[in-house]
Symmetry: C2
Subunit: 325 residues, 2 copies
């Protein structure tokens, strides 16, 4: 029995969500569906060209922690904000959902933000200014939290800020030294492209539970179909959770393989956040001692909830969607 079920480490970001059309993406050279890193000048420029927006707490791992807490899991978060309005928003929302968040605020660059352009086809195109998230350092990794959590969960986007990558390895070592598990999500295929060698090495040497979608796992092992990726990842970590949108997911652990169908959805409004919520559901099941198949189903339930509305965090208590609950 640990104090926390899950501690997440991620880039702490506020989402600035705006409706946009394909013309806007083309005019500003933005790859639809991807996540691009941008510098502050570019962030200011794009923001000045965007329509009226809505702000809310985001960050891939932050979204996962929100889903995890919504299922009833006991979680903590490590990430870097500044003590500005957006930093206060991020901290408030973590506290409000019952996730322990005590990483000290930085006093340098402003809280990071992700400009999220939602096109009429329900896709999200993201331009991230990392801001204070780049200041997350190995010293910010709260060893007491890591040791107190059954699983440490890391987002692949952390490989973008160089200091965070070091923090990442520190966290994995601390967790394993305490006999805990380490999980990671590859985040997106562009992120895998940027850091492929590091990710391959990391999975082999530090990761127990891997989350990836079809594009990401094919990019990681540079193969051109899903089954080849499946064979490539087999045996490289304790559990691999591979998500395939409407095709559901494949969960593998040693010789055990589960093909889990997607949950039915009534509508698809905004698809991204699905991966974050799949991880939330799977990790909730896993840390509660449920089977891999059941845990995969919980991942699918959380993903189906979040794609049915705008925004990357659940709008209902996910605990109310637990089968038989």
């Amino acid at each position: 029995m640990t104090e926390f079920d899950l501690v997440g480490i991620g880039n702490a970001l506020v989402d600035v969500v705006v409706q946009a059309d394909d013309g806007f993406l083309a005019e500003h050279d933005l790859d639809k569906g991807g996540m691009m890193l941008i510098d502050p000048d570019r962030a200011d420029f794009l923001y000045s060209k965007m329509g009226p927006a809505t702000e809310s707490s985001g960050g891939s791992c932050g979204n996962t922690m929100a889903g995890f807490a919504s299922f009833g899991g006991c979680g903590a978060y490590i990430g870097k904000v500044r003590d500005d309005d957006f930093g206060k928003v991020f901290r408030h929302d973590m506290n409000a959902i019952g996730v322990t968040f005590r990483t000290p605020a930085g006093d340098g660059t402003s809280t990071g933000r992700c400009l999220v352009l939602v096109t009429p086809d329900a896709q999200r195109t993201m331009c991230t200014y990392l801001g204070a998230a780049t200041e997350l350092q190995a010293d910010d990794i709260d060893g007491d939290l890591i040791k107190a959590a059954a699983v440490t969960y890391l987002e692949g986007y952390l490989f973008d800020p160089p200091e965070a990558k070091a923090a990442f390895v520190r966290a994995a070592e601390m967790a394993h030294a305490a006999g805990r598990k380490v999980a990671i999500t590859l985040s997106d295929s562009f992120c895998v492209d940027r850091h492929r060698d590091s990710f391959v090495h990391l999975v082999d040497s530090h990761i127990d539970i891997l989350f990836a979608n079809e594009d990401e796992i094919m990019s990681l092992y540079q193969v051109d179909n899903f089954d080849d990726a499946l064979q490539a990842v087999r045996g490289r970590c304790e559990v691999a959770c591979l998500t395939r949108s409407e095709k559901g997911s494949v969960i593998m652990s040693g010789d055990e393989v589960h093909v889990v169908d997607a949950e039915p959805t009534t509508q698809v409004i905004d698809t991204t956040g699905a991966g974050d919520q799949f991880a939330a559901g799977f990790l909730y099941g896993y840390t509660q001692g449920r089977s891999l198949a059941e845990s995969g189903k919980l991942g699918g339930i959380a993903a189906a909830e979040v794609i049915a509305h705008y925004g990357a965090r659940p709008e209902v208590e996910l605990s109310s969607l637990l089968p038989g609950g």
Copy 2:
């Protein structure tokens, strides 16, 4: 022909919108459906008790300007923010919707915010920390804008910060000196209670176009039914626009009286913002030289759009809803 159709003056606020239940309102002594002014300590305390929230630009008059611009009207806004994250959000959103906003940012207290608690019955209960909005002074009233706009529109909430009340009178005098019209909305019945004598005097001496809902106009003249209020306001200003939710509106000017039915709505999700958008539609029609009855209908169209979703600003281009458009 003027450069601007409308210039609005209001408390520049960012809305912090959260779902809440009746128990939360009771526990914290909040009057459902009203707008309470709170100090920074109370704002921090309530915020710390609230669930995860979404931030977006608000302010009654700001919402009206958003609707006005969405119809295609040419507008400007005067209001006070600080140059912090929330102030930048407010300024960005004004610019993004095409409303001229050039009031210099303050360097004192932080940008004001309105904690908006949405209960399951679709009502909004608002707790406002005015912040930088209290620093709006007579000197901030941009005479060039006032002279260049056919109508100057003021929100009643401006009577809460003392300096803003003086700014308000200054604006009305400038507008009339330039041969322009002055409009006001009474904002809410609690606001009328706080400032009844000032409002009665103001309507008699400075106002051409008055917006009020049923509760507000009955409170203003301390009568207990709508018809008595109608008789009381008659002849006191050039145009009175009285809104009655699902009963539609009554528009009066001298001997001319129009009873305008409400527009049909498919769903009612979140009712406040209806008054702000009614004013937007009416003033768009009025400044385009449409009849009072047509202008009232445009008010109803804008109100019906905004109550069908969360949030106090329109989600579609209101120009697309113009009859015959």
